[in-house]
């Protein structure tokens, strides 16, 4: 393979500006492509359209069709060819348009992406990133609001991350692209347009760390992606009622940061995990199970799961009932003395 250009230095830091998560992701892709010409981007509609969520906006004009292009419409094809490209030494960053449209690629993800490195005793690594605009709450019609994270997180060999804010979105996407492991990079669609002041390039905590984003004494809320904001809102509201809530942004679903979460839970002795996905077999089950395993004698109550009902994701006019809201969180905290 011919030599590649890898610029060592990241672009110099700029003054903080208000940036949406969509903008941060776009900047991360641009900077990563600029820094390393092995980074290539493809998928459905990522070229001239800039992606249905405009995350790749302007990139084809800037980098040309050999660095970012529209593929045929076939997700298994996208992931399967990305495997081959990564084997060659590229760092493909591919997009699945919605969670549910990654399912045609399930076999390539589980039987190859997750297993390649182990199969070859580390001789073949797959440095690739699979971006998935994820979850619901955007009024999407059927099949546009699934939460697929538990499928990926329960597959050994995959690294699964989900940023909740623009700074993490930038930093974690850069880190995911630099990683030698394949990363499922889940982007909570409903938070694409949420803003924060950031100076780019920003480096936040490493991809495998959870973060305490609000300190509190009485309860730990474990949230990720779209539910971090919900948890923070609940915490603000609870403060008025004299309840002090700590919020941990899990950030990375696989691996799980037992240390940060454990420290918080041992402090508050109560934890609830919050996600949009259906409760049964959802990612919260793993969180509840492992937090309990490791901190049983510190817990005053069972780990609470505040999650979607065990039903297919509802149509737009009914989705509000499926989503965890600050009210639902507070109500659940109120009735915490179960089965005593």
């Amino acid at each position: 393979m011919t030599a590649t250009v890898t610029k060592d230095a990241r672009p110099e830091a700029s003054a903080p500006t208000q940036l949406t998560m969509a903008g941060a992701l776009n900047a991360a892709l641009r900077d990563a492509m600029d820094a390393d010409d092995r980074v290539i981007v493809y998928g459905e509609d990522v070229g001239p359209l800039g992606g249905v969520f405009r995350i790749t906006d302007g990139l084809q004009a800037e980098f040309g069709e050999e660095r970012i292009w529209d593929s045929p419409l076939a997700e298994s094809g996208i992931i399967g060819t990305a495997i081959g490209m990564a084997m060659y030494g590229m760092r493909p960053v591919v997009e699945m348009q919605f969670d549910a449209f990654s399912y045609p690629a399930f076999e390539q993800m589980v039987s190859h992406v997750a297993k390649m490195r182990n199969r070859t005793k580390g001789r073949v690594t797959l440095p690739m990133v699979v971006r998935i605009p994820c979850a619901g709450a955007i009024g999407g019609v059927e099949h546009h609001s699934d939460s697929s994270e538990s499928y990926w997180a329960s597959t050994p060999g995959l690294t699964v991350v989900m940023p909740s804010n623009p700074a993490d979105a930038y930093s974690m996407l850069r880190e995911a692209i630099d990683s030698d492991d394949p990363v499922v990079f889940m982007e909570p669609k409903s938070r694409y347009w949420s803003k924060a002041p950031i100076a780019l390039p920003v480096t936040t905590a490493p991809m495998d760390r959870a973060e305490v984003v609000r300190t509190g004494d009485d309860v730990t809320l474990l949230a990720y992606g779209p539910t971090v904001r919900t948890a923070l809102e609940a915490a603000d509201a609870a403060e008025h009622e004299g309840l002090s809530i700590e919020v941990v942004d899990l950030r990375t679903l696989s691996p799980f940061d037992d240390e940060t979460v454990g420290a918080s839970v041992r402090k508050t002795s109560r934890a609830a995990v919050i996600h949009e996905a259906a409760q049964f077999g959802g990612y919260g089950a793993e969180v509840a199970a492992r937090v309990t395993e490791r901190n049983f004698h510190h817990l005053a109550a069972p780990v609470l799961r505040i999650a979607g009902f065990d039903i297919p994701y509802p149509s737009p006019k009914l989705e509000e009932h499926q989503l965890p809201t600050p009210d639902r969180i507070l109500a659940a905290l109120d009735t915490w003395e179960w089965d005593a």
Binding site: D70, P72, F101, V141, K317
Partner: protein, 381 residues
């Protein structure tokens, strides 16, 4: 069916092994003149009555489509994928089905469902965001509009095969987009249909785009109909803005399938005039003049020219059809402006046939929540 009317499951043809005409087959040219010669592929122009029927359906469908697009812009629907300009494909294909035949549509094919007799409010229930599917599939023999691309083609093959096993002489017709032909499921559907010789007709509506991605990034085949030979089934490359050709060729395929002759792949070459959906911005990926070019190839105008030149489309008839179309548009406006009553507790009622205790508990929890918020009558169950 064989001569004595019984259907054999072991029709043994030599596999079809010819390539479709590279020039799309057509029976009416863009000026509305009947075409002769080999571009007809040996098919003949349907009679005037049939064409008038198709014309009426297309006009009504167009008016409906325009109305729904307008309602969507007003925020009455969550989304609407328009089939403006694709009426010849949609109507030509679906009009060739019998009442007992099945249709497997995509999100794009609302007007085919309309033609099939389904009420606007029921078709649009999903796009309005009320529930995922709003019509009785068994009553209308029309499956839910499929979003996961190409998946429905396999359902059409399975249903057709089941019917065949039951010696039930029905046909299943499914629509696919040009983009959807790239999916693995399209391939598997073509192959299962051909191997099992199921009575399935595949209509590929090649409207040149998959959202923003143009055909040349989707395939390198000369025509999408060229794929048929690789499955040993007949393929037809058809002018998809010529409803006469779409109808005649689909009808022949449907009857061939019904008679036990197996599946057919028909590519209708057309164009998506509107954005992919209301949230799309086509200025990013195509030139307005391309759209204008295709607007000058309008399928309704083409047929209209022919029918007028034949003296078949009188002013009275035209007025009658306009009335029908406007009536439907008004009715659509009306139902789509009224809010549907939705019961959030119904979210739990259809997930399983066999009741689940855990789900009943979740239902009760939501009921309590709604009652506490005062937005819902406490549930009696």
């Amino acid at each position: 069916m064989s001569h004595d009317g019984t259907m054999s499951l072991n029709v043994e043809h030599a596999p079809t092994r010819t390539l479709p005409s590279e020039k799309p087959l057509r029976l009416l040219d863009n000026a509305g003149h009947a075409v002769t010669g080999h571009t007809t592929g040996g098919f003949s122009l349907p009679d005037t009555e049939t064409l008038l029927g198709l014309y009426r359906k297309m006009v009504v469908a167009r008016r409906f489509d325009v109305q729904v697009t307008a309602l969507t812009k007003q925020g009455r629907l969550a989304t609407y994928p328009s089939a403006y300009g694709q009426e010849a494909c949609e109507i030509g294909a679906v009009a060739s089905l019998d009442r007992a035949d099945w249709l497997f549509p995509t999100y794009r094919d609302s007007i085919a469902l309309l033609t099939r007799g389904i009420a606007p409010a029921d078709i649009l229930q999903s796009f309005r965001g009320d529930w995922h599917n709003g019509y009785d599939q068994h009553e209308f023999r029309a499956a839910a509009q499929a979003t996961p691309l190409a998946t429905q083609a396999l359902h059409a093959v399975g249903l057709a095969h089941a019917a065949r096993l039951r010696r039930d002489p029905i046909v299943a017709l499914t629509f696919l987009g040009d983009g959807a032909t790239s999916e693995g499921d399209a391939h598997e559907a073509f192959n299962f249909a051909a191997v099992w010789q199921t009575p399935t007709v595949f209509i590929v509506q090649n409207n040149q785009f998959a959202i923003s991605v143009p055909l040349e990034k989707q395939t390198r085949a000369a025509t999408l109909a060229d794929k048929a030979v690789g499955y040993g089934m007949p393929g037809f490359h058809v002018d998809g803005n010529d409803v006469a050709a779409m109808y005649a060729i689909t009808h022949a395929a449907v009857e061939r399938a019904r008679a036990g002759g197996g599946p057919t792949l028909i590519e209708g070459v057309t164009y998506r005039i509107e954005p992919h959906t209301n949230s799309d911005d086509p200025s990013r990926y195509r030139a307005a003049r391309d759209v204008e070019h295709w607007k000058r190839r309008d399928p309704i105008e083409r047929l209209e020219k022919y029918l007028v030149s034949e003296g078949a489309l009188t002013e009275t008839l035209r007025a009658e059809i306009t009335d029908e179309a406007e009536g439907l548009a008004a009715a659509t406006r009306e139902v789509m402006t009224a809010e549907a009553e939705l019961d959030p507790l119904e979210l739990f009622d259809h997930v399983y046939a066999r009741p689940r205790a855990a789900l009943a508990a979740q239902r009760a929890a939501l009921a309590a929540e709604l009652a506490a918020a005062g937005t819902h009558q406490e549930d009696a169950r």
